[in-house]
């Protein structure tokens, strides 16, 4: 993962997907399900990316990006998680746990970096206030282009830094991992699904009949699992 030929495309992907979170085009290609799969596709195994992406998507269900609220940045983070999970073979028992944890920490840091970028944008807008108040097209467009470019760079840098930090850490942790592979997976997906269950309830509880629809859905889901 410290190989530049591997890092560069992942950094570019992290940059583009980090940009999608807020700045452009907010088409949700930055959602973990998509972003982790895209990263894994670059490394040659999209199926593994989908697995870690689905787990992260359960965490991301909780994120409602209302107004100027502060929230985790899932785009670059899912690239980190998808990449770390894909570079390790399927037999590494803690690979999913470590990849998901790395992605969550990256999402946390990514959210902080978005706040810093908004502060920087505000600082620049304040400096250019007179030109904006005079109706300068060049300045209005310049502020927009600066913000977009800075966000792109932010996502790329975050991806590189987090991959560079977590790749060696992951190798160490996995070499000393002592838990059973299935229990390891069960713990991480159990935590993720708990967050998702709480999030779904938070979103739907005010709708008429939602309680019964949710319980009915769980019943149908369990019946399908039982029939497998």
């Amino acid at each position: 993962m410290t190989d530049i030929a591997q890092l560069l495309p992942l950094a570019l992907l992290g940059a583009v997907l980090g940009l999608d979170v807020v700045s452009f085009p907010q088409a949700m290609i930055s959602r973990p399900l998509v972003a982790a799969t895209a990263a894994a596709l670059l490394l040659g195994d999209p199926v593994r990316g989908l697995l870690v992406g689905a787990t992260l998507e359960m965490f991301a269900l909780e994120t409602l990006p209302f107004g100027a609220s502060r929230y985790p940045e899932w785009g670059s983070a899912a690239v980190v998680g998808g990449s770390l999970f894909t570079v390790h073979d399927n037999t590494s028992p803690g690979a999913l746990t470590v990849a998901v944890l790395a992605a969550l920490v990256s999402a946390w840091l990514g959210g902080w970096s978005m706040v810093q970028l908004r502060k920087l944008n505000a600082q620049l807008a304040r400096k250019r206030h007179d030109a904006v108040a005079a109706g300068s097209k060049r300045v209005v467009e310049g502020l927009q282009v600066f913000g977009l470019t800075a966000d792109l760079v932010r996502g790329g840098l975050l991806t590189v830094v987090m991959l560079a930090l977590f790749a060696p850490l992951q190798s160490y942790v996995l070499s000393t991992w002592g838990s059973d592979p299935r229990v390891s997976r069960a713990v991480v997906v159990g935590v993720a699904a708990s967050v998702a269950a709480g999030a779904v309830w938070k979103v739907v509880h005010a709708a008429p009949g939602a309680r019964w629809l949710l319980l009915g859905g769980v019943g149908v889901g369990l019946a399908i699992v039982a029939m497998r």
Partner: protein, 252 residues
């Protein structure tokens, strides 16, 4: 005096593409303000005096001030404000109208998109994953459904704004915007309920006993997190739990 200016398709297209980057210069002071000016700008070139003229510069300055709304629903504001400027409405009236738009466009968009459409599409994709649909299929379900709604909403908003101008409030009273969030939440409840056990099973793999234990833990965890509503974020608690599990697994 009101003069109706026709807006060429090229200008509409330029406004639509710019809408995708409306939050590019987003910040905690003017929020979407600069983005609104950026998106309205192609239409302002049609003002008397053209690009760089007095009317153009005054309108661009007006439209680049503080503004807050849901980014998709801001398309309604961009269209309506462009129409108001081209219709030659009084600046003070435009500014009052601009201020009045913020609240409704924020709350309608947040309820419809962030709290209903996005979670519904997300659980639909998780359900597809749980059913064992292939990678391309899962992504197609999520990106296809989500963006059909996303792009349609932006396009409708711009068009409604440009058509209705300062009378755009009537378009916001449509049944999709009023009742859509409730129906989407009901759909998300049902699909989410189906998706969670299926996705759990897909990640854990075969083995009923372990699945049962995890399911019980998830039910308990979900209830606790739902009760903590607003006081704690589940994903942050998740980080803590996973750190503890990694430390335990390494120390064993």
């Amino acid at each position: 005096m009101t003069v109706h200016v026709e807006i060429p398709t090229r200008t509409r297209l330029a406004m639509f593409v710019r809408l995708l980057a409306i939050q590019g210069a987003g910040n905690y002071e003017t929020l979407l303000g600069n983005g609104i000016g950026f998106c309205v700008e192609p239409a302002l070139r049609l003002l008397p005096g053209g690009q760089g003229g007095e009317a153009y510069r005054a309108a661009l300055a007006r439209q680049s001030q503080y503004f807050n709304a849901h980014p998709y629903m801001a398309s309604v504001a961009v269209g309506a404000l462009a129409r108001a400027e081209l219709d030659g409405e009084a600046p003070a009236r435009i500014e009052r109208f601009r201020t009045a738009l913020c609240g409704p466009l924020g709350s309608v968009g947040d309820r419809l998109v962030w709290a209903a459409w996005l979670p519904a599409c997300s659980v639909a994709a998780l359900a597809a994953f749980g059913f064992g649909v292939g990678t391309g299929g899962v992504l197609l379900v999520f990106l296809g459904i989500y963006n059909a709604g996303h792009l349609a909403l932006r396009a409708w908003g711009l068009s409604a704004g440009l058509d209705h101008g300062m009378r755009v409030a009537s378009a916001l009273g449509g049944p999709v915007l009023r009742r859509g969030p409730m129906h989407l939440a009901q759909a998300a409840a049902l699909i989410g309920g189906i998706a969670l056990p299926l996705a759990l099973d897909q990640v854990i793999g075969p083995g009923r006993a372990l699945f049962g234990i995890v399911l019980g833990a998830v039910a308990l965890g979900g209830v606790v997190l739902a009760r903590l509503h607003g006081r704690a974020e589940g994903w942050k608690i998740g980080v803590g739990l996973l750190v503890l599990f990694v430390l335990y697994s390494v120390a064993r």
